[in-house]
Amino acid sequence: GAGVSQSPRYKVAKRGQDVALRCDPISGHVSLFWYQQALGQGPEFLTYFQNEAQLDKSGLPSDRFFAERPEGSVSTLKIQRTQQEDSAVYLCASSSTSGVGDTQYFGPGTRLTVL
């Protein structure tokens, strides 16, 4: 595809449910990032992959959040036992290399609403 895609675009979950959010980066892109964007705020870093290796997960807010990228392409962000404070837009971005100064291309995001 021409850009980063994410699915689903919208997800409504009952508190306590588990959710899985998918990101398809631009083909061949080495780096993949997950961000959380609350309403009216800027995106906040969650985690970063270089190929299949998760090199930085310092932004994950709790151990209920888990991300993987097993084959170095598609990535899944999983949130267990969702809470209302998890409601946000989850953005995925990819960049072509692992080098400094590389542009990050964002997907459309998944809007998660926890009731």
């Binding site: 800027g42 970063y48 090199l55 692992s98 400094v100 542009t103 964002f106 459309p108």
Partner: protein, 113 residues
């Protein structure tokens, strides 16, 4: 940790007026990037500034990076309705061999026709 502050939070201007948003980081940055997010959309990369004191222009948009590489500004001349959106700066620091972006709080620009 690193903090990136942006002012103002909101800006309403008449079409044709100029607009400026300012960005300040608590730490020295390797580079700073600017993004535009339309209502309901996702951040779209505008530009990256790397060098101390760098100034770049894109048509009506002028971007500056401070001498200390801790602050930046975006200036739009003669705004148009297509400029509506939220402008984010994102400060980059090297982390695990790649850039970790810390986004500012954003400035939401609305245009009065």
């Amino acid at each position: 940790g690193q903090q990136v502050m942006q002012i103002p939070q909101y800006q309403h201007v008449q079409e044709g007026e100029d607009f400026t948003t300012y960005c300040n980081s608590s730490t020295t940055l390797s580079n700073i990037q600017w993004y535009k997010q339309r209502p309901g959309g996702h951040p779209v990369f505008l530009i990256q500034l790397v060098k101390s004191g760098e100034v770049k222009k894109q048509k009506r948009l002028t971007f500056q990076f401070g001498e200390a590489k801790k602050n930046s500004s975006l200036h739009i001349t003669a705004t148009q309705t297509t400029d509506v959106g939220t402008y984010f700066c994102a400060g980059a620091q090297i982390n695990f061999g790649n850039e970790k972006l810390t986004f500012g709080t954003g400035t939401r620009l609305t245009i009065i026709p």
